[in-house]
Subunit: 401 residues, 2 copies
Amino acid sequence: MKKIDGGITAAQGIRAAGIHAGIKAADTKDMTLIVTDTPAAAAGVFTKNSVTAAPVILCREHLSDGQAQAVIVNSGNANACTGEVGMANARRMASATAEQLDIDAELVLVSSTGVIGQQLPMDKIENGIQTAAEALSTEGGSDAAEGIMTTDTHPKSIAIEIEIDDAPVRIGGIAKGSGMIAPNMATMLSYLTTDARINAKTLQIALNRVVDDTYNLLTVDTDRSTNDTVIILATGCAENADIVEANGENYETFCEGLQFVCTELVKMLARDGEGATKLVEVVVKRAKNREDAEKAARAVAESPLVKTAIFANDANWGRIMMAIGKSGAEFDPYQVDVWLADYQLVKDGMDSGYDEDKATALFAEDPVRITIDLCAGDTKITMWTCDYSYDYIRINADYRT
Amino acid sequence: MKKIDGGITAAQGIRAAGIHAGIKAADTKDMTLIVTDTPAAAAGVFTKNSVTAAPVILCREHLSDGQAQAVIVNSGNANACTGEVGMANARRMASATAEQLDIDAELVLVSSTGVIGQQLPMDKIENGIQTAAEALSTEGGSDAAEGIMTTDTHPKSIAIEIEIDDAPVRIGGIAKGSGMIAPNMATMLSYLTTDARINAKTLQIALNRVVDDTYNLLTVDTDRSTNDTVIILATGCAENADIVEANGENYETFCEGLQFVCTELVKMLARDGEGATKLVEVVVKRAKNREDAEKAARAVAESPLVKTAIFANDANWGRIMMAIGKSGAEFDPYQVDVWLADYQLVKDGMDSGYDEDKATALFAEDPVRITIDLCAGDTKITMWTCDYSYDYIRINADYRT
C-alpha cells in the first residue's frame, strides 16, 4: 500500500471539479461535482437522524439499483427542514446535473451541507452545475475537496494504491467536517472513489464495515447532522479479478485499503474539529464486549470536562474515571489503568504517583493518545476526537449570524 | 405557600455552620455542618455513576435505618478514586463529627466535593469539624450554603412555609453546582431540611418523586459526578399530623412544597452553570410518552450547538430540529412546532417566517424558554439548562491546574 497524489481523482475513470457557485457569500468554492466515465458500482451510508435532509432521501432512492455516475454537492445550505420545496430542489439538482452530463437523472447523487431551514438559491445552483460540468478534469481532486468545505479550516483529501491480484487498484477520498460530528455518522460528507472491479452489493458490505470502524467512531461534539453522507463509487477500470463476494483475500485487501483511507480522513476530520487544537485518540482495551468498549470510549471522547482538560494540557484523570463511570460499561473501578501515551496515570483506579510535568509534556505529542484498560474482557476499540477550546464556542456562536 | 428567610436553618430543630477549614487554598468557606437537635427521619438520593466516591458509599450505609442527626460536608476535595484510605477517611469524618456532637457515628452523613483522586487532608478536616461544631447556630443557613461551593459564583439557598392540617411546616434547602451537572444526579450536592412530621419511608418516596422531576432534569454539561448527593432531614418539630403513607392530601401538600423548593434550587443551579450567561428552560410537549419527552428535551438541552447558539442570541432552530432528530424520540419532522417564549419559530417542521430581530430580542428574557411541540402524544416535560459560553471552556481548562 502506498500513498499517491490525486485524491478523489486518483482512481482511473474519475473526473471532478470544485467551483464557486455563489451560495456562500464569501468568494470560496461551494460546489463539487464528481463524475465517472461510465456508470459505476455505488454504495452509501447516511445519517441516522430522523430529521433527514432532502438530498439524503434522494440519494437513498437513487442508490437503490447500486449504480451512479455523478455526485453533485453544494456547501453553504443544507437543504434540510425545507419540506416539499426542498425535495423538489434536490430532484432539480439531480436533473440539472444529468442534463449537463447527458445521463439519466437516477444516476446522479446529491448532497447539501450548511445552514438548516433555508431554501436553496436554485438560480445559483443551476448556473453552478453548468460551471462545474465545464470544469471537470482528471486533475480536479483538490478543487473537489475544497468545494465541500463549511467551517473546515483546510481541505481533506487522500489517495492510495494497493495491489489486488498483482493489479494496481486505487482508492481515493475527500471529506468535510467539522462541527455536528458525533455518534453514528456526523456532519460529515465523505466521497470515496476506486477503480477496483467490485460489484455494488459487495461494495456496500465493505463500506458498512469500514464506516463502523472509522466514521462512526469519530466524535467532535455530541451532535449528529441531518445530512451525513458517505458515498463510494467504483469505476471498475482496474485490472483486478472481479470482487463479487464479501470474503476471500481480494475482498480483505480491498477492505484494508478502504479502512486505511477512511481512518486517515477521520483523523483529518478530528484534528480539524471546530476549535480543535489537537487530535485525540481514545483507546479502550480489555472491555467486556464491543458495546461496552464503545460506551466507555465515547463517554471519554464526548465529555466536555475531559476535552477542556486536554485543551489545558491537564492530566485530569479524575474526569476520565468519572466519564467511564457514567458510561454504563461494566468494570471494577479499582482495577482500571489509564495511560497518557505510554505513561501510566492511573493504577488500579487510583493515582499512579505520576509526575505532573512529565504528563503535561506528553500533551504536545500528536495525537494525544489516552488508553484505558478496563480489565473486564478482551475487546479493544479506538475512537477519534479533539479537544474543546475557546474557539469551539466562538465558531458556533458566530456561525449563522 | 410563602417564601421565608433562613434557608437550611428555617425549619425548627436545625442548626448549621459553614467555616474555612483550609482544604481550599483560598480563604473561603470549605466546610458545612448541618445538625438536628434530635435524630431526624432521613432520606437520600445518590449518583448513579459506577465510580462512586467514598462518602456516597458511607451515606448509603448510614441511611439504611432512615435516621440521621448530622451532615458534614467538605468542598475542595471529592474523596473519589481514593481506595481504602479514602473510605477510612470518610468514616473518620463521620466519627470525628460524632465525637464533637456526642452522638453515634452512624447518625452522621458525609459528603465531599472537589478534585477527584487526592486523599483528604485529615488534619485540616478534623480541626475544621471542631470549628464547625463550635459555630453551629440556628442562624447558620447562609454560611452553610457557602461552605459547600466549588466553582459556583454564589450560594444557593431557599426556604418556604406551607400549611399541613393548618400547622405551619417549613422546608429549606441549599445546593451547589455547577459543572459535571447532567443526566441523573449531577455534581450536585443538595441538602434539604424540614420540620414536617413524616416517617423516613414516606420521606424517601417523596424525595425520589421530586428528584425525578427536578434534579434529574437539570443538565449543564453531559457529565455526571462521582459524588452527587441529595439528602433530606425531617426533624418532626412541626405540629402537623404524622405523614405515614405516600398518599393523601397532607402527603401531596408536602410533595408540592418540596417540589417548589427543589425546582427553585435547580433553576439557581442551571443559571449558575459553569460559564452560563442565562437560564434555559426546554419544554417538550405532546410527546408520545415520558421517555420520548425526556429524550427529546435532553438532546436539545445537551446539544453544544444549540447551547452556543443560545449564548449568541441566535434563533438557530435548525440545530433544535437536528437535536430532536438525533434523540430517538418518535415524531413526524413535518408536524413539529417550535417556540421561543411565545413566539413561533418553526411551523410544521419548517421556518414559520419569523422575524430575526424579534427572535433575537427574546433571548433577553429570563429564563429563555424553548417549547417544542412534537404532536405525537400528550406528555409534557420541562428540563433546565444554561448556554455554553467562552467561560465554560475557561473555567474547565483552568480548574485543576
